[in-house]
């Protein structure tokens, strides 16, 4: 390892430090990583995917097809159907029929057993699902293998158990299902978001029509195959693929009782607007601009790991990402130095390589958007720093990026970038940190790093967001409610709270 220059104190003497304190992380000169790609040769994708309606794959009425590509190679993976409003209507009818004829007639116990089956079969197909997720969406295999897919199975397993216990969920009330649920999910955690939506809906006795994102439809279509294999009654789960117009057809369908949407605040507002004046229930999980607050008394190396995880996990395509770092002045130089060093160790590249830390940006559109924000940041006068990592020539890749010298009103501080881009501001007092943390329209998640318990409680209570990670970041669990304050959405997913949007209380 290389030696960095010793820090000097004000009188010029070398500061006493621990023996390892001035060692710099430098993995490459000491050893280097060999390629470790996950094999994908055995993955069987159809050339063309139909829509999954009423328990079978059916061609779209208009026969319009779309392509999904691998964002790390820009090569097409498969064709899928663009569902029209007629197709959506067929899916809603099938869901309504299943709701009335079969699913609502089943006892909670039996419903639960079906959902347990889905959980188990996701576990059985875990490896393939993880590989497909990484191919279709660009996320590192380590994350799809260790986070997305196991958690998706866990959500089904958790909610399966609620199906026959709903009488204990809401004191003083009986929980009736809502009916047919229209669900629209994003491209950042395709299978995981599917599980957040479908598992509680089915457990509460509803049937669903779900639309995956147009850049990542494959794991949802694989899940449709799992529903068939599990013998789930026809029409209980319907998967319709397509882009915005397909989603709008679901939102606008008069026979849908509830809409659940995860995606951008911009689209969330459009959905809320189009639901105005209707009786439909809805929940929205929207954007974020999460503050990650590091106090002087924080365990600094843990904090650095937490910051790396908060903004570079899943290429920063995380609605709850800690995209705004707030550092207390006294440690900002030291922290920034350590952070930059740690960034240098991040490997950007092939999503299927098990050593990859940061995979491909999900789509050309998102890639362009991130680059646009990098330009905006520079034009706003911020100082940009990117790691020196080599990125592949093909595919959509973005170097881990920091912006310093930013102001609270800068667009890169106020707007969600949804990429591996972190802004860094400093503060002096906890009050200032809280003010800055809350000074965006969002309120999804935030982080606090300090070794002082009372400070954690004080600050966490003042942060207006649905999730607070103290001395950790980006942790998820089926039992743990998730969702936003303010313009980050309404309603919770996960845990007991996640059942509430899927029931009518009597």
């Amino acid at each position: 390892m290389t030696q960095s220059t010793k820090e000097k104190s004000q009188n010029g003497e070398v500061k006493p430090t621990s023996p390892n304190s001035d060692l710099k992380l430098d993995f490459n000169s000491f050893w280097s990583y060999s390629d470790a790609p996950e094999s994908s040769g055995h993955i069987k994708l159809k050339e063309k995917y139909d829509l999954f309606i009423n328990g079978e794959f059916v061609a779209g009425k208009k026969g319009r097809m779309m392509n999904t590509i691998n964002p790390s190679t820009e090569k097409p993976l498969a064709e899928f159907t663009e569902a029209t409003s007629e197709d959506v209507d067929a899916a809603v009818k099938s869901a309504r029929k299943a709701y009335e004829k079969t699913w609502s007639k089943l006892s909670g116990k039996e419903r639960g057993k079906y959902i347990y089956r889905l959980a188990r079969m996701i576990q059985e197909h875990a490896k393939d699902l993880a590989i497909i997720e990484s191919m279709d969406g660009g996320k590192p295999i380590r994350e799809s293998r260790d986070v997305d897919v196991p958690l998706a199975a866990a959500y089904f397993f958790y909610y399966a158990g609620w199906a026959d216990k709903l009488d204990y969920a809401f004191p003083g009330r009986k929980a009736d299902p809502v009916g047919v649920c229209g669900q629209i999910i994003p491209w950042n955690f395709p299978l995981l978001m599917l599980s957040w939506k479908i598992a509680p809906a089915l457990a509460a006795g509803n049937t669903v029509v779900l639309k995956p994102a147009e850049t990542t439809p494959l794991t949802a279509l694989k899940f449709a195959e799992i529903c068939q294999d599990a013998g789930l009654p026809d029409g209980v789960v319907n998967i319709v693929t397509g882009a915005g117009p397909t989603g709008a057809a679901i939102v606008d369908h008069p026979d849908v009782d509830k809409i659940a949407f995860t995606g951008s605040t911009e689209v969330g507002k459009i959905i809320q607007k189009s639901l105005a004046g209707t009786e439909k229930k809805f929940t929205l999980e929207l954007g974020g601009k999460g503050p990650n607050i590091v106090f002087e008394d924080a365990p600094i190396d843990q904090a650095v790991e937490g910051i790396i995880n908060s903004i570079f996990f899943n290429q920063g395509h995380v609605c709850c990402a800690g995209s705004r770092l707030l550092v207390q002045e006294g440690i900002s130089d030291k922290l920034l130095k350590k952070l930059k060093e740690r960034m240098e160790t991040l490997i950007v590249g092939d999503p299927l390589d098990k050593n990859t830390d940061i995979g491909a940006i999900n789509s050309k559109m998102q890639y362009d958007k991130i680059n646009e924000y990098l330009e905006i940041g520079v034009n706003e006068g911020a100082t940009i720093h990117q790691s020196s990592v080599d990125i592949p020539e093909n595919g959509y890749f973005c170097k881990p990026t920091l912006f310093t010298d930013v102001g609270q009103s800068n667009r890169i501080v106020q707007e969600e970038i949804f990429g591996p881009v972190l802004t860094i501001q400093t503060f002096r007092t906890p009050e200032e940190a809280i003010d800055k943390a809350n000074n965006t329209p969002f309120g999804l998640a935030g982080g606090i790093w300090t070794d002082k318990g009372s400070k954690i409680f004080k600050v966490s209570q003042k942060i207006r967001s649905g999730v607070v990670w103290a001395n950790t970041f980006n942790k998820f669990d089926p039992t743990s409610p998730f969702g936003g304050y303010k313009e980050s959405g309404m309603g919770r997913e996960g845990g007991l709270h996640g059942l509430y949007p899927y029931v009518n209380l009597k």
């Binding site: 507002k269 809320q272 004046g277 001395n471 950790t472 919770r492």
Partner: protein, 287 residues
């Protein structure tokens, strides 16, 4: 003494713990059952809506930070104050055309409903909060927190019971609010402001505007500093307008059409929950 001239009350609004007139200077006549004018109420406008938002937002920080126990005592204090001024409220409801017996029932139930919600302030977090048994080495819990500033649209029927039934769960949960009073009988609602003012409710927690709903509703529900809307006007056009305005800044909307505010079903903690956010906090458990 029979020829003594009665001192008539000037009905104003209740904003930020004070009783200002409408900035517009406009009023509208409130008539009794026989059609004679009993008072002039303030006809508030867009400017009054905006002026009411400021104290509502400022009061939120302090009020939401109070302990449940403290908020409970203050809600109970409102009930005590109302009990003491019962006769005045019955009289005001009668002036609005209500029979004496019905007026007394409305006031009595308003008092009891305040006591009901006073009791919830330090209990609903236990009913709706959870400790979440996550699979990783973390301690994780979810607690309800108030949503923020709530716009309350109250009904013409049961003007006192309506505002009590809507304001009580909202402020019991630590929110502040801006209330559009009954249009036809706002007098009793303004008087309720006096009760609030003498009950240790901090100024700005409840703000009451009178006037024409059509002139205020749009501005109030569009306002970017409103976090949620609690609407009891059962009218499709009104509902749609509120929903559309809510979508501008992702406001939570609770439409709550009511047949009769006297029904006991309006006493439940789920009304508090409608104006709560759930915050989940994680911390590693280990050394």
């Amino acid at each position: 003494m029979s020829d003594r001239i009665e001192v008539l009350k000037t009905y104003k609004t209740y904003v930020g713990g004070k009783f200002p007139r409408s900035e517009s200077g406009k009023t509208y006549p409130i008539k009794d059952a026989s059609g004679s004018v009993i008072a002039n109420a303030c006809r508030c406008t867009r400017k009054d809506v905006r002026d009411a938002m400021l104290p509502a937002r400022s009061a939120f920080g302090d009020w939401s930070g109070r302990s449940g126990y403290n908020r409970g005592q203050i809600l109970y204090r409102i009930a005590e104050m109302l009990e003491g001024r019962k006769e005045q409220f019955i009289k005001e409801l009668e002036l609005g055309g209500m029979k004496a017996k019905a007026a007394a029932e409305e006031v009595n139930l308003s008092i009891d409903r305040l006591v009901y919600f006073a009791g919830w302030t330090d209990k609903y977090p236990q009913v709706f909060g959870t400790i979440n048994p996550v699979a990783s080495q973390h301690f994780n819990f979810t607690a309800p927190e108030p949503t923020g500033v709530v716009a309350i649209i109250s009904t013409d029927e049961s003007p006192l019971l309506s505002i009590v039934s809507q304001v009580a769960p909202v402020i019991a949960g630590g929110n502040s609010c801006v209330v559009l009073a009954s249009e036809t009988n706002p007098l009793v609602v303004v008087s309720f402001g006096e009760v609030l003012n003498s009950s240790d409710v901090p100024g700005g927690v409840v703000n009451i505007l009178t006037g024409f709903r059509d002139e205020m509703l749009d501005h109030l529900t569009k306002h970017m500093d409103v976090n949620a809307v609690f609407n009891s006007i059962d009218n499709q056009e009104t509902r749609k307008l509120i929903d559309l305005n809510a979508s501008i800044s992702v406001k939570r909307v609770h439409h709550y059409p009511v047949d009769s505010w006297f029904d006991e079903k309006h006493e439940n903690p789920y009304l508090i929950l409608e104006f709560q956010e759930s915050k989940t906090t994680w911390h590693p458990a280990g050394v």
